[in-house]
């Protein structure tokens, strides 16, 4: 049962990675791309981590997977803020329709 659930989670994660890439390629400016990428990728990695943790028996390894995800959340969020701020300071105007 948890085997199947893990597979479903991992596949969902892969789809979110795909959507992040689509956003990176198709969105019109830095800020929208940043928006697409940082959220989709963080969630996708979380799903992959959760799926792998379901396939795992060892508690220490599950903890390590959780730690990896937390690290990516923290650094991803900070990096998104840093890049957006730098882009604004650099004089890039947000895209408007």
């Amino acid at each position: 049962m948890s085997m199947l659930a893990g597979i479903v989670l991992i596949v969902l994660g892969l789809l979110f990675f795909l959507s992040g890439t689509v956003g990176l390629l198709r969105f019109p400016d830095v800020f929208t791309r940043l928006h697409a990428l940082s959220k989709a990728d963080t969630l996708a990695l979380g799903l992959v981590c959760a799926g792998l943790a379901l396939h795992e028996d060892d508690g220490a390894l599950q903890l390590k997977l959780l730690l990896i995800w937390l690290l990516v959340i923290v650094s991803g969020a900070t990096c998104a803020s840093l890049i957006a701020r730098a882009a604004l300071a650099h004089g890039i105007r947000p895209w408007q329709r």
Binding site: I7, I10, V11, G13, L14, F17, L18, G20, T21, L24, L25, D29, V30, R33, L34, L37, S38, D41, T42, A44, L45, V48, C49, L52, H55, L61, K64, L65, L67, I68, L71, V72, S75, G76, T78, C79, L82, I83, R85, A86, A87, A89, H90, I92, R93
Partner: protein
């Protein structure tokens, strides 16, 4: 099961190769850095899936190091490279 993990890793790799187009197209340095970040996150996921395929526990350590160091490049970029670097962007293209 192993094949499932490997296929997932292959999918992610193909995904990131497609995203490389953003490095080529730019136009600003921030866009290029963004694809670098995507590559970092994807590499973590690929390592995790390869761990699932092979069961080598050391791969989790490698993924952990990747996750910790993910911030390094972006922070250096924002603090050192970009604030004073007009040349990192392609001039003459739309932003």
């Amino acid at each position: 099961m192993t094949v499932f993990y490997l296929a997932g890793a292959l999918f992610l790799l193909a995904n990131v190769v497609v995203a490389l187009a953003r490095v080529l197209r730019g136009p600003t340095a921030a866009d290029r850095m963004l694809s670098g970040e995507l590559m970092g996150t994807t590499a973590v996921a690929v390592l995790l899936l390869l761990y699932g395929a092979t069961g080598i526990e050391a791969l989790l350590d490698v993924a952990l190091v990747f996750a910790i160091l993910a911030a390094m490049a972006v922070v250096t970029f924002v603090r050192r490279t970009w604030p004073e670097d007009p040349a990192a962007d392609d001039e003459g293209e739309s932003r």
